[in-house]
């Protein structure tokens, strides 16, 4: 599903990723881990199409991201859910509106948006709080809204960048359970983290990065 061939990325003289060769199959659950500055976020941004590699090839579902045009990249992003450490919720919109946004951009009907948004909120356990605004929620609840927004469009791929970075160990476990349940439904999940709590007691594939290179795979 995701194939990287000798991908290299640099920002000026700073090398972020070097000679990355990676293959992630459909339905896999992969952790990308390593110390701060190892290149985890850059790797996710390349997979999401927010950055382009300096050299090498990157394919998602057979689509070469080096050659994709802007409109097709937008359409591809509708099949990818992204969860950020800082949630990236719109404070002026309600929980429901934040989640529905991901479907509104596709021009879905109101009835469909309502049904799917409620389903997503139910899955993350926030259907009762759909009218609340993000700033009225706890950090864990806000992250669950962000996850609901990422999964509401039934993505083929869910990417999460340090999703529990701002959460305590108890909430981290809740979020992890949520990711696993999403994975069980067939979604490919990639989680970048350096959280030990998140990696504890997991048998999932781990890709360990250091200074822009894959140093170990488990």
């Amino acid at each position: 599903m995701i194939k990287l061939f000798h991908v290299h990325k640099n920002f000026g003289v700073n090398v972020a990723l070097s000679d990355i060769v990676l293959n992630i199959r459909k339905g896999e659950f992969v952790f990308i881990t390593g110390p701060s500055g190892a290149g985890k976020t850059t790797l996710l941004r390349l997979i999401f199409g927010s950055e382009k590699p300096a050299s090498g090839q990157l394919l998602i579902n057979g689509i070469n991201l080096n050659r994709i045009n802007r409109k097709n990249l937008d359409l591809l992003r509708r099949k990818i859910g992204f969860v950020f450490q800082d949630f990236k919720l719109l404070s002026r919109k309600s929980v429901f509106a934040n989640v529905a946004l991901a479907l509104e951009v596709s021009g879905e009907s109101k009835a469909y948006i309502r049904k799917k948004t409620r389903q997503a909120l139910k899955l993350v356990g926030l259907v009762e709080r759909e009218k609340a605004f993000p700033l009225q929620l706890s950090g864990g609840e806000q992250q669950r809204v962000a996850i609901a927004r990422a999964i509401v469009k039934d993505p083929i791929l869910l990417i999460a960048d340090e999703p529990t970075g701002n959460l305590d160990p108890e909430l981290t476990k809740d979020i992890m359970i949520l990711f696993k349940s999403i994975h069980m439904k067939g979604t490919t999940v990639i989680v970048a983290t350096h959280s030990r709590e998140l990696l504890e007691n997991t048998a999932q594939r781990r890709i360990i990065l250091n200074r822009g290179k894959i140093v170990e795979e488990q």
């Binding site: 992003r77 990236k88 951009v105 009907s109």
Partner: protein, 297 residues
């Protein structure tokens, strides 16, 4: 773009306006002011054109007489004029009559006339030609013939004024294009910056929209609608102010030299529609430029 998205776009555009009320209020005022200035030029230009056309169709003369003219000679001048083809002497204005008319024309400002030692105004005949075929009349030739008569000081005819005004009209047209161009650029600049400000206030939302797969046009369209709504309101406000001003001014008849009464007309619908469309186009283009630059950056 799917039709069902348009209510969303309209909602977003109105929400943007409401969330940035002050910016839009200032923009509305400045854009409307620019359009009012542009509309004023059109209004003056349009009315001058009408007046000139009216003058061009009929020839009128003012024949000024020497102060020392005797009654007998004055009558022979009158007879000569009356004998010209299609000509009629509409009225004779004596020196005293001319002063009285000037006094009436000046109204409360006529005080200074009291300080005059003698009446400086000449007596005159007002002459008009019934035949509305100005090309068959050579006003310059008629003027020279009348001025050659004994006791006639000077002859002025309407076309002389029309010629002078025609020159003025050409200058005004040039000035109008120049100032109009500058004002259009000003409106474009104002709208572009207003939309830039609203884009800036929503940059976080735009980034999130892009993350969830919104196309560029999905993000751009509400801003273009916003700029267009802004320009529609500005154009309506400008036309309303112009029409209000016209109603006040048109209650009075304009007099040129105290002799010719002129009607003042409002912009014909084609001019009003053109002004309206110009504003809408400038609003849409301004927003397009603003969002274009944002996406380039």
């Amino acid at each position: 773009m799917k039709i069902r998205l348009w209510p969303y776009f309209l909602n977003q555009a109105f929400a943007n306006i409401m969330n940035n009320r002050l910016v839009h209020f200032i923009t509305l005022g400045t854009t409307a002011a620019s359009l009012i200035i542009l509309g004023l030029f059109l209004l003056i230009f349009f009315n001058l054109n009408i007046w000139l056309e009216g003058w061009g169709k009929s020839l009128t003369l003012s024949v000024y007489l020497d102060d020392a003219i005797e009654n007998e000679k004055r009558e022979s001048v009158r007879s000569y004029i009356a004998g010209l083809p299609n000509a009629s002497v509409d009225r004779f204005i004596s020196k005293d009559g001319a002063l009285e008319e000037l006094r009436k024309l000046l109204g409360p400002h006529s005080q200074f006339l009291k300080g005059l030692d003698s009446n400086p105004l000449p007596a005159s005949f007002e002459v008009s030609f019934h035949n509305d075929l100005p090309e068959q009349l050579d006003p310059e030739h008629i003027k020279k013939n009348i001025e050659a008569l004994e006791g006639v000081d000077e002859v002025q005819y309407s076309e002389e004024w029309a010629g002078k005004l025609d020159h003025l009209l050409r200058m005004l047209r040039f000035l109008g294009f120049f100032i109009g161009g500058l004002l259009c650029m000003g409106v474009l600049f104002i709208v572009t910056n207003a939309i830039k400000l609203t884009i800036y206030s929503r940059r976080e939302e735009i980034a999130i929209l892009k993350l969830v797969g919104a196309t560029d046009w999905f993000v751009k369209i509400p801003f273009i609608i916003e700029g267009t709504i802004q320009s529609i309101l500005s154009a309506l406000l400008a036309l309303l102010v112009l029409f209000g001003g016209y109603l006040i001014i048109s209650a009075e008849k304009f007099q040129v030299l105290g002799l010719i009464a002129l009607d003042f007309s409002f912009l014909p619908s084609s001019y009003s529609v053109a002004l309206f469309l110009l504003s809408v186009i400038l609003g849409a283009v301004g927003s397009l430029v603003a969002v274009g630059r944002f996406f380039e950056a």
